[in-house]
């Protein structure tokens, strides 16, 4: 065998290193039989210890190391430690929740608390359908840690329980309250003498004015175009009422092609047709588009209330980012202009097979105490789902506008959850449809057809568990 022959043979052997075919099963391994140690640590319940935490049981917490960092969680752990001095707390933080934890779920030895968030989030549909999550119902009924006379449930903002419930069981604690709207800089608007438009016609007129001033009215995350589905669906819900969202969440036939969705898609098509979008936006990712917006290259952007902390490093001083609801289509709207989409986000869960389930619930009770919530607000400038968490805390400009928008919206606030039920539908299918629509390659009706086709493919997929919500 000469040198060339060896080269040739080694190329053939290179085949055995073919990409990744064996990779998936690397996660499977031996976890055949379930170890019976779920909830191994169980103490006795008492008035001081309503969840029955065993005082010396160790607690393992895994945090998603994203926009909020991990310091807030370390503070919560210290508070837990104060109340349970004998407990040993193991803390870790990662950006890859699913890849890191998947083998431990299979093995039956998951951590006690998981902050299942970020791009590497584990699909909740799969977790719920595999009964991998502990029921948090007991937590809701437990008394609040530091608000006398109230249960934990009484201290939560409305909608928190609903958004974390699957078939009526409360399984996921979404810890932050997120508002989705259209953002602009009040400084830019004041300098130019513009005011945010309350109706769609005025919005289009304003866009024309902004464009004439040499600024692009809009930009968006072209590589994650689902960000633009949020204002579009919001417009439709404000026109047709919350039933529009209900139909979409419940995968009702032709839910995406309702009259309200059609009218909303037609309206939004205007900003594409009239070229109100910053050139090149379809090729920008979320960071790049948000930065272009912060640099004043565009006037409006659609985002959630994490925008302010995400852009902290590049926002010029005095930029004053402000969130506003989507403009009303007209006087026929079922919801007023002030109505805005608000929902609990940043999911936390206790795996059903965790050794210290009671400890996990108790950790949540600590997070949801007034002290824990206020500390969170101070550390990461975001709203937790606990009422009154912002009392006496000085808020940054953007977050203050979020609080104001929420107050104004009041009971008219709305939300949808199809993205929680069927992650693929929003992340993949509606996302792709938005990309085509907002870069001008499809018409409004083609856009809705593509979304509907995606929803239908989920509805007809027997391997996906379906959920329904009542209202």
């Amino acid at each position: 065998m000469n040198r060339r022959e060896i080269l040739r043979r080694s190329a053939a052997a290179g085949l055995l290193a073919t990409p990744a075919a064996g990779l998936l099963s690397g996660c499977a391994t031996s976890g055949g039989d379930d170890k019976g140690d779920a909830g191994a640590y169980q103490g006795t319940k008492s008035e001081q210890n309503p969840l029955g935490v065993k005082e010396d049981a160790p607690l393992e917490v895994v945090i998603f190391n994203g926009g909020f960092g991990e310091d807030y969680a370390k503070a919560h752990e210290a508070m837990y430690q104060e109340n349970h001095p004998k407990a040993e707390i193991k803390h870790s933080a990662t950006q890859e929740i699913s890849k890191t934890l998947q083998p431990r779920f299979v093995d039956g030895s998951p951590p006690d608390v998981v902050n299942n968030s970020g791009a590497g989030q584990i699909d909740f549909n799969g977790l719920v359908s595999q009964n991998a999550l502990a029921d948090l119902g007991e937590l809701l009924a437990a008394p609040s840690l530091d608000v006398p006379g109230k249960t934990v449930k009484d201290t939560l903002l409305p909608g928190t329980v609903e958004v974390g419930s699957y078939d009526g069981r409360f399984l996921v604690l979404n810890y932050t309250y997120t508002v989705y709207g259209i953002w602009h800089s009040t400084k830019l608007f004041a300098d130019r003498g513009w005011t945010y438009a309350k109706t769609w016609d005025e919005h289009i007129a304003l866009c024309r004015q902004i464009k004439a001033a040499g600024i692009a009215p809009w930009t968006y995350a072209g590589l994650h175009p689902r960000y633009m589905s949020w204002p579009l669906i919001s417009t439709a819900i404000k026109l047709g009422g919350p039933s529009v969202a209900l139909a979409i969440d419940n995968l009702e036939p032709n839910a995406w092609k309702s009259d309200a969705m059609k009218t909303a898609a037609d309206a939004w098509h205007q900003i594409v047709k009239d070229k109100f979008i910053l050139d090149g936006s379809p090729g920008l990712d979320h960071k790049q588009s948000q930065t272009a917006w912060c640099q004043g290259k565009a006037a409006f952007i659609s985002c959630g209330s994490w925008l302010e902390s995400e852009q902290k490093d590049v926002t010029p001083a005095g930029f004053n980012m402000t969130v506003a609801p989507t403009p009303s289509l007209g006087s026929g709207d079922k919801l007023p202009f002030e109505a805005i989409r608000g929902t609990a986000g940043e999911p936390f869960m206790v795996p059903a097979k965790a050794k210290n389930v009671a400890g996990g619930l108790e950790y949540f009770r600590t997070m949801l105490s007034r002290k824990g919530a206020q500390d969170f607000t101070k550390k990461v400038a975001s709203l937790p789902v606990v009422a009154g968490a912002t009392d006496g805390v000085e808020l940054p400009f953007g977050l203050a506008t979020v609080v104001k928008a929420l107050d104004a919206s009041g009971s008219n606030g709305f939300n949808w959850v199809y993205n929680n039920y069927y992650r693929k539908l929003e992340r993949n299918l509606v996302d792709a449809a938005c990309g085509e629509f907002f870069s001008g390659r499809t018409s409004p009706s083609e856009f809705l057809d593509q979304c509907q086709k995606g929803a239908d493919s989920i509805a007809s997929d027997n391997s996906v568990k379906k959920y329904k919500r009542a209202a």
């Binding site: 190329a11 073919t18 993949n428």
Partner: protein
């Protein structure tokens, strides 16, 4: 003598074989088994579904769309990379000006060789992020240059389904060429100079020399390059995932990304993803076997 060798052989061969068996072969076998289940990845429970996953696979438009892109990669990436690699390598070893005595490379050969090899030193992740910024429509280097030469509205590259896939393909070629320049260059050094001098005396042009002498003598190396590149083309996962994540509208999707997305991305159907993996395994195997068979030629020995 003989009885002393056996323990030695066992000592050196068994541990690597055992490691290979545990970490490579057994996951492969297990992937075959998982591909016949509906395992969802977060519990130990999985039901046998027979070949249902493979039936779904046959009718999955997204998988076929990804396979189509892999097929294009399979044809274009090796051809372009090998052609560029051969061209650069021959310029570096024998592109020197005519009339001089002997066969030499162009001036500055050592510098070029170093520069071509740069991308090989960078990790794929860095290459992907680097090019993502270069392609950025508003602040990228590419559109900056296009605007500088007077193009009013240059394309959105990664945001445009007409270009996104080809942009990734270009990066794939760019990051691979350097290695093959070095590989072919080394092989060309091994070709005896007197052969070239003889054909030069006979009046052969540079092109004829490349076609009639260099390529036939390098055939084994080219074949190796072809197989490596074909395997790389069937993968392409890292670049695509980081640069476009398969978008816009699935226009740059590849089969590896389908598998990843089905298991760790937007869903967690590990059973179905394993079926995609098994399909990939057979595809890669057949491509390599085909490449080995069709490229077989008589080898020329110099000595």
């Amino acid at each position: 003598m003989r009885h002393g060798r056996l323990p030695l052989i066992l000592c050196f061969l068994l541990p690597p074989l055992a490691i290979y068996g545990i970490f490579v072969l057994s996951p492969y076998l297990q992937a075959f088994q998982i591909s016949t289940t509906d395992w969802l990845g977060y519990s130990a429970q999985a039901d046998q579904v027979g070949l249902a996953n493979f039936r779904t696979l046959l009718h999955d438009g997204y998988v076929w769309n990804a396979l189509k892109n892999n097929a294009i990669l399979l044809v274009v990436v090796p051809v372009v990379t090998i052609a560029l690699g051969l061209f650069f390598a021959s310029m570096l070893t024998m592109g020197g000006r005519k009339g001089r005595a002997g066969v030499t490379g162009v001036r500055g050969t050592a510098v070029y060789r170093l520069v071509y090899f740069f991308p090989q030193v960078l990790s794929v992740v860095i290459i992907a992020l680097l090019w993502k910024e270069i392609y950025s429509p508003t602040s990228g280097l590419l559109n900056g240059a296009l605007r500088a030469v007077g193009l009013a509205s240059p394309p959105a590259w990664l945001g445009d389904p007409r270009f996104a896939f080809w942009c990734v393909l270009a990066v794939m070629v760019w990051s691979n060429v350097g290695f093959y320049v070095v590989l072919f260059g080394a092989a060309m050094q091994a070709i005896p100079r007197d052969i070239y001098e003889a054909v030069l005396l006979d009046g052969a042009s540079r092109a004829t020399m490349l076609r009639k002498i260099t390529i036939p003598l390098l055939w084994d190396t080219i074949q190796v390059a072809w197989i490596y590149l074909a395997i790389a083309a069937l993968d392409g996962f890292i670049l695509v995932q980081l640069m476009t994540n398969g978008g816009p509208n699935f226009s740059s999707d590849v089969i590896g990304l389908r598998m990843y997305d089905t298991s760790f991305g937007s869903e967690n159907k590990f059973g179905y993803a394993s079926a995609i993996g098994v399909a990939m395994f057979f595809l890669t195997l057949s491509v390599a076997v085909l490449a080995l068979r069709t490229a077989r030629r008589d080898r020329i020995e110099y000595s």
